[in-house]
Amino acid sequence: MSTLEIKDLHVSIDTEQGTKEILKGVSLTIRTGETHAIMGPNGSGKSTLASTIAGHPRYNVTSGTITLDGEDVLAMTVDERARAGLFLAMQYPVEVPGVSMTNFLRTAKTAIDGEAPKLRTWTKDVKAAMAQLRIDADFTQRNVNEGFSGGEKKRVEILQLELFKPKFAILDETDSGLDVDALKVVSEGVNRAHAEGNMGTLLITHYTRILRYIKPEFVHVFVDGQVVEEGGPELADRLEEEGYDRYATGAGAATIAAASAAAQA
């Protein structure tokens, strides 16, 4: 049983106009076996939260903490975080020219496990995982994400999720840009990984449709760098009907205390 704990996180970025605060005090606790959905409008800071957990150098943590089973995640380098068991499925996976998928997957797996996987079982595992995600076998020969369509990139992120077996998966809008079939395939991948019982999931999404396939126990509504409302799956249903409009930007903060108190009750 592991715990990822985010406490009062404030994050800013440097822009040409100066420092801009994006996360304004985010607190969140996820445990193994739980699925949390973070839902919010574009620009509310969802990717910032995800990237900060992964350690992207662009984001400066000005205060607050992130711990994994008590260990200070913020003190770790990007690769140390991944090896500690954090996995970020990126909203915009990066193309890495010159590096084949085969080589990349094996190198990453070796780094995460601390030893090279047994070649024969590994090749079999990769093949099987690819087949389940309906990724063509010849993708292993291609360079990482190079020339992949948006949907293919997302599948390949989930392929890595299934192969690397992290303690916590942060899925940043993995559903965006997927058609219904691809959404199902990708959701099944996440559910398979979850069903193994050793993973907690932070599912970041703008839309509610992925929640038909992946069932969160907790829903957090994110507006303007803060959680403005928290609740169970029913909150997602309400968002589906009402949208984000009622969380007028800036006004959320005042009502959050009451809203989350109600949700906890």
Binding site: A82, V94, F164
Partner: protein, 427 residues
């Protein structure tokens, strides 16, 4: 065929630098430009380079370059010459000024019986059959060599395995070397020139690829750190000949390779590949010339370089000339550099001159990029340590050239050599 309205378009230097501080023109076509430039080149003649110096024959057409077997025909070098402007002359250790009477690298050839290997004197009739010096150092070597190695692949012979020519440096006395490679009609072979040890040497490699012959020449520069090497490697291609040339420069203080390909009959194809990896203080230069003077020939050029460490310097200049009579030409040239650390500098200048509109295609690309932080983040976010990530990317980048070699033993050796280069500096 594509009709180009302007009779002569000189495609020269691109503008915005990809890396700030890379001031020489040409080295830094943005990837966007690079991707777009596979189109036939039309429109107005592009602005000429401004080269500073102004001595010599800057910016004249490549067709006008002086060629001669006589050293005296070439003026002493000042460093202002178009073809020497990037080269640190002081580090040539006399190759351009001294009588080259030092001990030349020893030549040891391993070849299947079907191949003829001879050591001949200066008056052998085959000397001069494929090359004529195009610069002072090459002419100096021509004037000073005492004996030459002639390798002949007889007509219609298909050689199994490669012809291996080991050239081992004999110290720092300035010396001259001469090798002639003749691939007779319809033969098929691979020749490896393997440069090792310590040498200060000016070299002329003559390569004759007769009608219908297929020849691959691989020139490996794995010199010791103190070596100085200037190598002119000129190929003359017959009708329907296929020539593949691969330059790999890893070791040496200063290595300057100037390959060229000239067509004498239609239907011939040339591929010029190069791989270089410069680390701190090294100067690795490659200047190639493809002279399309005959109709319906093809050329394809790709050079890739990696740089790391202070004052690592690479130069790539790609001159491709499509003469008026070379209708139906299809040509593409590209150079890509990957800068791994601060303090390294890559100059990259594609020059495509087109004198006829009736061509099948002509394009060029040049891009110098830094190892990208986004690449690094993605790989590290998968648990891969920074060092390993860097190695993964560089290996992948250079592998495109290594794969062209197709001699497994050499591919393995170069892969290992690239790993050593990467391990050398801990960045």
């Amino acid at each position: 065929m594509t009709d180009i309205t302007t009779e002569k378009a000189r495609i020269g230097a691109p503008s915005q630098p990809f890396i700030n501080g890379f001031t020489e023109e040409g080295e830094s076509l943005s990837p966007v430009n690079a991707a777009a430039s596979k189109s036939p080149l039309a429109g107005e003649a592009v602005k000429r380079h401004s080269h500073g110096g102004g001595v010599g024959i800057p910016d004249s057409s490549r067709a006008g370059r002086l060629t001669s077997y006589k050293l005296a025909d070439f003026k002493p070098l000042t460093g202002m010459e178009e073809d020497w402007r990037f080269t640190p002359l002081k580090r040539l250790r006399g190759l351009h000024t001294e009588v080259l009477n030092g001990a030349a690298p020893t030549v040891s050839v391993t070849a299947p019986d079907s191949v003829t290997v001879e050591t001949v004197g200066r008056d052998d009739r085959r000397i001069g059959s494929a090359a004529i010096p195009e610069d002072r150092v090459s002419a100096n070597a021509w004037e000073n060599f005492t004996e030459a190695t002639v390798i002949t692949v007889p007509a219609e012979v298909q050689v199994d395995g490669e012809v291996s020519v080991l050239l081992t440096g004999q110290g720092t006395g300035a010396s001259a070397q001469h090798v002639v490679i003749i691939a007779e009609k319809f033969s098929k072979s691979v020749v490896v020139l393997d440069h090792q040890g310590t040498a200060v040497v000016a070299e002329n490699i003559e390569i004759l690829v007769e009608d219908g012959a297929q020849l691959t020449v691989i020139s490996l520069q794995e010199w010791n750190d103190d070596a100085v090497h200037a190598s002119s490697q000129q190929a003359r291609l017959g009708r329907d000949a296929k020539f593949k040339h691969i330059v790999v420069s890893l070791g040496g203080d200063l290595v300057r390779v100037t390959p060229s390909a000239r067509f004498t009959g239609p239907g011939a194809e040339v591929e010029l590949f190069g791989l270089y990896f410069a680390d701190a203080g090294q100067h690795l230069e490659q200047r190639l010339f493809v002279d399309h003077s005959v109709a319906n020939c093809k050329s394809n050029v790709l050079y890739k370089g990696a740089l790391q460490g202070r004052n690592a310097h690479t130069v790539w200049v790609g001159d491709v000339l499509i003469r008026k009579e070379a209708e139906g030409t299809d040509t593409y040239e590209a150079n890509r550099n990957l800068v791994l650390t601060d303090g390294a500098r890559a100059d990259s200048v594609p020059n495509l001159e087109i004198e006829t509109g009736l061509i099948a295609g002509a394009g060029h690309a040049s891009a110098t990029g830094r190892f990208d932080d986004q690449h690094l983040f993605y790989l590290m976010a998968r648990g891969i340590p920074e060092e390993v990530a860097r190695r993964l990317v560089v290996r992948g980048f250079l592998n495109e050239i290594i794969q062209q070699i197709k001699v497994p033993a050499i591919e393995e050796r170069l892969t290992a050599a690239v790993e050593r280069e990467l391990a050398a500096t801990n960045h």
